[in-house]
């Protein structure tokens, strides 16, 4: 099933995903204002809280999204490694 064309395409997507998610995670960790809309919605109770508490909550949400992106990055690295091994087998054959 995994011929050279299929392996190449999925390997490229995995590498692209790795770089994309690494950078996106870095931007979330850095609390980019452009990504504010992409944070999960804060709860109703938190909306009425003090600004200092809300700031802390936003920071936590940013960090959580950063970790999620980096987890995805790790998954893509694993996929890339597996597909690289597959590509090596195809070249050896």
């Amino acid at each position: 099933m995994f011929g050279p064309m299929c392996t190449g395409i999925f390997l490229f997507l995995a590498l692209w995903g790795t770089v994309f998610m690494a950078i996106l995670g870095g931007l979330f960790y850095n609390q980019s204002v452009g990504l504010f809309e992409d944070l999960p919605k804060e709860s109703k109770a938190m909306e009425k809280s003090l600004w200092a508490d809300r700031t802390t909550n936003f920071n936590k949400l940013y960090q959580q999204n950063a970790y999620n992106c980096w987890i995805a990055c790790g998954v893509y690295i694993g996929i890339a490694v597996l597909l690289s091994l597959r590509a090596c087998c195809l070249v050896k054959r």
Partner: protein
């Protein structure tokens, strides 16, 4: 001059070949690929040419090669490509080639015939074996008794089809089973029922049939397989045997005679088994030998094909030559690039040496009035861009070539429409892969048309990717998100208390509240504007499109009019090249004035508005500018210019007097004023009315100048008997017709004047496609990636992983890169073909198609069409 700015100088050359060396010289020219031969024997048909016999022999060899290729394809053997260089075979080796191909063809035909016979024999033996194996059960006493009773009943009239009007003649009943006769054989199972019914009706039930299906396969070496049945037919008396055999022939049932004695049958069965095994071994050896022949032929087939291709093309070319009356010389005429005449002479010299002749071929340059073909020296980089231009039309001889400018302007305009650094990176990586591995990809000789289209344009795509990244930084667009690299100058001007109160109010009323950043306060002037590209703050703004759309529209106008003006400059180069003074003075200059007085003026207004008009009240050009509500409207201003409408000379009156109704602070001082109605429609620089009136008059006057002067000048020259260069290219005719010239010039003038207006509007597609791509990119991010990013918690990581890998990335590639990229590509092509090239490009030339083995071989291998 060896550049692609203009086409190469071409020379019509006459070559005298000696008969013995002509073949070899033409072969060398074919390797060089720099001579386009003219057919000097057009009036002759194909059968009266000098080398028609040689061409026929080549055709015969080609037929044999095609036959061998069909046999190879039938056996599913791959045919490898041949990559080494193959010189054209000598004419004396032609007989050897013929003999080899003849031998190979005869061998394959013989093998096929023998295989057919052997297979048929094998099938018959297997069928005989099946009959012998099953006839024992068919001939058991019970079957015989059953058959005897059935036939007896039929003989007595107690069974069988009803017969009316026949005399009641009853045969003598069968007294004993031993009187029965039988015929055995094999019939196709699909015909068995019809076979049985036919026998029953025809013989009036006096033939008893019985069938047993054959379980084993009887056609081991055939791809087709049909179920077969062993049959036995019982009947009484010998007179029915002939009739029964005829029916068997009609149904393609094969009869096999078997002895009645069981011992003899056993012996015969053993013999047949031995023969079957031997026959199978022979067939397998024959097929093995055929396979060896086919593999050996497959290895050399492409080589033979290329050799034959060269041979045939050389003879076709020789057929274009004239034959000297002494029959010792062949005379050829061909177009050769002037810069390559030395190479051609070298090739002729090498051909003479290789042929062993002592008389060299002689090349003469000729003066001619014929229209030369157009030839550009291209490499793998410039070929892609030249293809874009050639798809519109081949350049006239020595005409300015759009391709050098297209190398930059085409990817640039594509990128203005594409405008996404993130997707541009993907495009750049894909094109880089093609470029880095191009040697390997070329050697693979991939024949897929779509792949060849992308691969042929790999350098175009490479530049498109680069420029897309550049304009992505200009627009500050990475997958619809902006990146703050240098630090924005916009700051939050509101204090904490106000924001907290608004937050509380929004939370209570469950609505989203918006804030306006007043530029005067929120923009930090000391920090200056964002150094490169669009300020990333616009990515957060609700009025983002209100800012970007006018910016992109004005940019489109500027780029479009720049390109059109450049096209007109190139038309000046063409006029200078044609040494046409009347075109320079009375066509080019009026065109410049027309474009300059209206459209370049519009561009200048755009730039002035960008530079001078800000949201802050100020004195601009000596008059009070109250604020952005009075920023001049350029489009309506242009319309008013054409309508020569009277306008106020300022934005406001009663400036600085007590009668003013409003006031603003300019440079720290209070200024009172009364604003004029529709202040944005009024004049905004000194003497604007007079300036615009002068520009309008110049533009209006230039139209009849470019329309009328040239035709009347040509008519004047014609009446004086002077030479007229009508400059219509290869379709030039000798007659002068003033009406035609006037109509032609009128069409050109109208096309130019109206074209300036419609082409300027056409360039707005640069904004439209940029908007489309940006919005699609934003939708993809918002509807796909944001769903996973807003999921929250650790479960969000799974959502991010899956949604990016299977949805976001694939949709990005398929829709945003391929579909949007193709759309921007097509629009960039149109902007070049119509808006740019219509200003200077004729495109009615003839392509230089030299006699070139490399091109012929590429067509043969299916790489070109």
């Amino acid at each position: 001059m060896g550049s692609i700015y203009r086409s190469e100088h071409m020379k019509l050359c006459q070559i005298f070949f000696q008969s013995e060396s002509a073949y070899q010289c033409v072969a060398e020219l074919g390797e060089l690929g720099m001579a386009q031969f003219i057919d000097l024997n057009e009036e002759q048909n194909a059968y009266t040419r000098k080398f028609v016999n040689e061409v026929r022999r080549c055709d015969e060899m080609e037929r044999k090669i095609n036959f061998v290729e069909d046999e190879i394809t039938k056996d599913l053997v791959p045919i490898p490509d041949y990559d080494e260089h193959i010189p054209a075979p000598q004419p004396k080796h032609m007989g050897e080639m013929e003999a080899n191909l003849e031998k190979l063809e005869e061998e394959l035909v013989q093998i096929n015939k023998n295989c057919k016979v052997l297979k048929n024999n094998h099938v018959q033996l297997l069928e005989m074996k099946a009959v012998l194996e099953h006839v024992t059960s068919l001939l058991d006493p019970h079957s015989k008794r059953e058959a005897a009773m059935s036939i007896s009943e039929a003989a007595r009239g107690e069974a069988g089809p009803i017969s009316f009007g026949m005399k009641d003649e009853f045969d003598k009943p069968v007294k004993d089973e031993k009187e029965l006769k039988f015929v055995t054989g094999v019939v196709k199972r699909s015909k068995a029922i019809a076979f049985e019914r036919f026998l029953w009706r025809l013989s009036r039930a006096k033939v008893f049939a019985k069938f047993i299906q054959i379980q084993e396969q009887t056609e081991l070496f055939s791809n087709e397989f049909e179920d077969k049945c062993v049959f036995i037919l019982f009947f009484s008396g010998e007179q029915l045997r002939a009739k029964v055999k005829k029916i068997c022939d009609g149904f393609q049932a094969k009869c096999y005679t078997v002895p009645e004695n069981p011992a003899e049958r056993t012996k015969l069965l053993l013999n047949i088994k031995v023969q079957t095994t031997d026959m199978k071994a022979v067939i397998e050896k024959t097929l093995d030998y055929r396979s060896k022949c086919i593999h050996a032929a497959a290895t050399n087939l492409r080589k033979w094909g290329i050799m034959l291709l060269k041979l045939k093309s050389i003879f076709h070319t020789l057929n274009m030559f004239s034959v000297d009356v002494t029959q010792k010389c062949l005379i050829a005429e061909c177009w050769v690039p002037e810069a390559d005449i030395g190479q051609v002479k070298n090739s002729l010299h090498m051909g003479t040496i290789h042929s062993g002749s002592t008389v060299p071929a002689i090349l003469n340059e000729m003066e001619t009035d014929k229209y030369p073909p157009t030839y550009f020296k291209l490499n793998k980089f410039t070929q892609g861009f030249q293809n874009i231009v050639d798809a519109y039309g081949i350049a006239n001889y020595r005409e300015v070539n759009p391709a050098p400018w297209t190398i930059i302007s085409f990817p640039f305009l594509f990128a203005v429409m594409f405008g996404d650094a993130g997707h541009g990176i993907i495009m750049l990586i894909a094109a880089s892969a093609f470029v880095i591995f191009e040697k390997k990809l070329i050697s693979m000789k991939i024949k897929d048309e779509i792949f060849n289209t992308f691969f042929g344009g790999r350098y175009v795509v490479l530049l498109m990717g680069m420029f897309a990244i550049y304009t992505g930084f200009i627009y500050n667009d990475f997958y619809s998100k902006s990146v703050n690299i240098f630090g924005s100058s916009w700051v939050n001007p509101y204090n904490q208390t106000l924001l907290a109160n608004m937050d509380a109010q929004g939370a209570d009323s469950n609505t989203d509240l918006s804030l306006t950043f007043p530029p005067e306060i929120a923009f930090n002037h000391d920090y200056g504007p964002y150094p490169f590209g669009v300020d990333p703050v616009w990515n957060l703004a609700i009025n983002r499109l209100n800012f970007l759309n006018p910016m992109k529209m004005k940019t489109s106008i500027l780029l479009g009019i720049s390109q059109m003006a450049f096209g007109i400059m190139l038309s000046l180069m063409n006029h200078i090249g044609n040494r046409s003074v009347v075109d320079i003075v009375f066509v080019f200059i009026p065109q410049c004035l027309f474009l300059g007085c209206i459209f370049v003026y519009l561009c200048l207004q755009v730039l002035m508005k960008w530079i001078f008009f800000y949201v802050k009240p100020a004195y601009i050009f000596g008059r009070l500018y109250p604020g952005s509500n009075c920023a001049p409207s350029l489009l309506i201003g242009l319309i008013n210019m054409f309508m020569v409408k009277s306008r106020d000379a300022s934005f406001a009156h009663d400036v600085g007097t007590a009668a003013g109704k409003e006031w603003v602070i300019v440079n720290g001082q209070n200024v009172t004023y009364t604003i004029n109605d529709q202040c944005y429609l009024q004049q905004w620089y000194p003497n604007q009315s007079l300036v615009e009136l002068i520009l309008l008059l110049i533009a209006v006057v230039s139209v009849p100048v470019m329309l009328l002067v040239k035709p009347f000048y040509i008519r004047w020259r014609h009446s004086r008997g002077l030479h007229i260069d009508l400059g219509h290219g290869p379709d030039e005719h000798g007659e002068f017709n003033f009406g035609d010239i006037m109509v032609h010039q009128a069409i050109h003038t109208i096309e130019f004047v109206l074209g300036c207006v419609s082409h300027t509007a056409s360039y707005l597609r640069l904004w439209a496609l940029s908007l489309a791509h940006a919005q699609l990119s934003d939708v993809l991010w918002t509807m796909v990636l944001r769903m996973s990013l807003t999921m929250g918690g650790w479960g969000g990581s799974a959502a991010i992983t899956i949604l990016f890998y299977f949805i976001f990335s694939i949709l990005s590639v398929c829709i945003l890169i391929l579909m949007e990229g193709l759309s921007a590509f097509l629009h960039a092509i149109r902007l070049h073909w119509v808006e740019f090239q219509s200003k200077f490009y004729g495109g009615t030339g003839i392509q230089f198609e030299p006699f070139c083995f490399t091109k012929i071989i590429r067509v043969y291998e299916g790489l070109d069409q």
